[in-house]
């Protein structure tokens, strides 16, 4: 290896990014956000659906494929590359994520330009999806190590970014598509290609702040004024570290997998069909001309609740404990679905409050999971364990829409809220099952702890906070 190659490899290594004394931990959340706000673009894929369908003459099912493959690849790549992300460090992970995500856009641009739609699916969904998975988990364990006093808040900020990414990308890409003549009944495919190209290049620049700013704390680093000896303790807390390979052999991992999967499924149940649900519940409450705008406003309101829930509830979990906060997500979530079921369209404000809270719990379920894992398994390989847990998302991403769409289709002849009665009852049952799974989570048996002193350091590891109060 030449010297220059050695330096290039060194630039990406974990050793190279150990923070010098005096480094500010408040640079880490914006580094994480630079990545999460970018990859969160995935949730704005729907903006491209109609232009692609009309511009390339493809079906609605085909135009969904890049997004669907992207979410599947997100879960798979997070699971497969999680251990490597932990070992190689966050700069390597962020750079690889950025390269894959940007390359996905460039391949998609080429695909539309040459009218080869399979390139769009392979590029955006396949290559870009790998960038989603690696990028999603890349800052998580680093944030937990920098914020041992507030891990829920720290991961909440980053994962809120994933929810916020679509808020930026949706209006931005829509305005570019419009400017390049890629809207209306005869959208210009070259305009779609140009939009993909510009987005890819812009994200390459924006994400660079992530891999340039990211640092890991030194092993002996502590937040100013924070003493691990004075930390609160909880029943579920671990003082050891569990490897990813061993974590998946524990019942705690699979119980949390069920909790996340069912919490996400229940949220997707309402998120997936936000506009149609609003239409079926409140058709006639607005003048016809403004009804489409009202339905779009409902979808936007749910996005806001989804995003804010990630930060607010995850931060609250640092105070009231991880197990308690999931009791709220699942238990109160089930009650809220029941309220919608019973009151249907009798009160619009009550319906909106219930829907917003359900979606805030949906987002918060994602954001609180890393801190819950940290509490159960320590920080030793928490990034890799988180990656494996995200397979629950892949399953829920298929399960949720499948339940709601299949049941809504089966009740096509019914009008109004009755179309969703069965779906919402299923969501309540899933949330109750998730609640029971959360109740069954007990401390991890110490026999799974690593024996090489991985525990109570902050930089490398394990400190802790309250878990089960």
């Amino acid at each position: 290896m030449t010297t220059s190659q050695g330096h290039a490899a060194g630039f990406l290594t974990r050793e190279r990014i150990i923070a010098r004394p005096g480094w500010s931990r408040w640079l880490i959340p914006p580094a994480a956000l630079a990545v999460h706000l970018s990859i969160g673009q995935a949730y704005a894929w729907s903006v491209f659906k109609t232009p692609l369908e009309k511009g390339l003459n493809i079906s609605g099912v085909a135009s969904s494929l890049p997004f669907q493959l992207g979410i599947v690849m997100l879960g798979l790549s997070a699971a497969v590359f999680g251990t490597r992300v932990d070992r190689n460090g966050p700069r390597w992970a962020m750079l690889v994520s950025s390269a894959c995500f940007v390359t996905g856009f460039l391949i998609a641009a080429l695909g539309v330009w040459t009218r080869q739609y399979w390139l769009v699916v392979l590029g955006y969904g396949g290559v870009g999806g790998i960038g989603l998975g690696i990028g999603y988990i890349s800052p998580v364990s680093t944030l937990i190590k920098w914020f041992p006093d507030r891990p829920g808040m720290a991961t909440g900020i980053a994962i809120m970014g994933f929810g916020g990414g679509a808020l930026i990308a949706a209006p931005w890409s829509a305005s570019m598509l419009s400017a390049f003549g890629a809207t209306g009944n005869t959208p210009d495919p070259d305009g779609i290609a140009l939009t993909f190209l510009i987005m890819g290049l812009a994200y390459a620049v924006f994400m660079s702040a992530g891999w340039l700013l990211i640092r890991v704390p030194a092993d002996d680093w502590r937040p100013a004024g924070w003493d691990p000896a004075t930390r609160k303790t909880g029943k579920l807390i671990t003082t050891g570290g569990v490897s990813a390979a061993n974590a998946i052999k524990t019942p705690q991992f699979w119980l949390l997998w069920v909790v996340l999967c069912f919490n996400v499924t229940a949220g997707i149940g309402i998120l997936e069909k936000a506009a149609p649900i609003f239409s079926d519940f409140f058709a006639g409450s607005n003048p016809a001309a403004s009804f489409a705008a009202a339905a779009a406003g409902f979808a936007a309101l749910l996005s806001l609740a989804n995003m804010l829930g990630r930060f607010v509830w995850s931060s609250a979990s640092d105070v009231i404990g991880r197990k308690n906060i999931y009791r709220m997500y699942l238990g109160v979530g089930a009650v809220l679905y029941l309220v919608i079921e019973l009151t249907t369209n009798a009160n619009k404000v009550l319906f909106l409050i219930c829907a917003m809270l359900i979606l805030s719990f949906y987002g918060a379920g994602f954001a609180t999971a890393p801190a819950y894992l940290r509490d159960l398994f320590g920080t030793y390989e928490v990034g890799a364990i988180h990656g494996r847990l995200l397979t629950a998302w892949s399953v829920a991403g298929v399960l949720g829409p499948m339940i709601v769409n299949a049941i809504a289709d089966a009740h096509r002849d019914e009008a109004g809220p009755a179309r969703y009665t069965t779906s919402f009852i299923i969501m309540i049952v899933l949330l109750v099952v998730g609640f029971v799974a959360n109740e069954l989570i007990k401390p991890v048996d110490p026999r799974w702890h690593e024996k090489d002193g991985t525990a109570p350091e902050v930089g490398a590891g394990a400190d802790t906070g309250e878990v089960n109060r």
């Binding site: 150990i18 408040w26 406003g297 936007a300």
Partner: protein, 44 residues
């Protein structure tokens, strides 16, 4: 012997501010675009 990497050098506050602006500005744009859609929800 203490190397340059071991010496305490506080990060300039302006770097922290710039880093937050880097992510806050596009986020504020997205949030604004979202908020202007909301009034239609209560217009009926």
């Amino acid at each position: 012997m203490t190397g340059p990497r071991d010496q305490e050098r506080p990060v300039p506050p302006v770097l922290v501010v710039l880093a937050w602006l880097w992510v806050a500005v596009p986020f504020a744009y997205g949030l604004w675009q979202l908020l202007i859609k909301l009034p239609a929800l209560f217009g009926g």
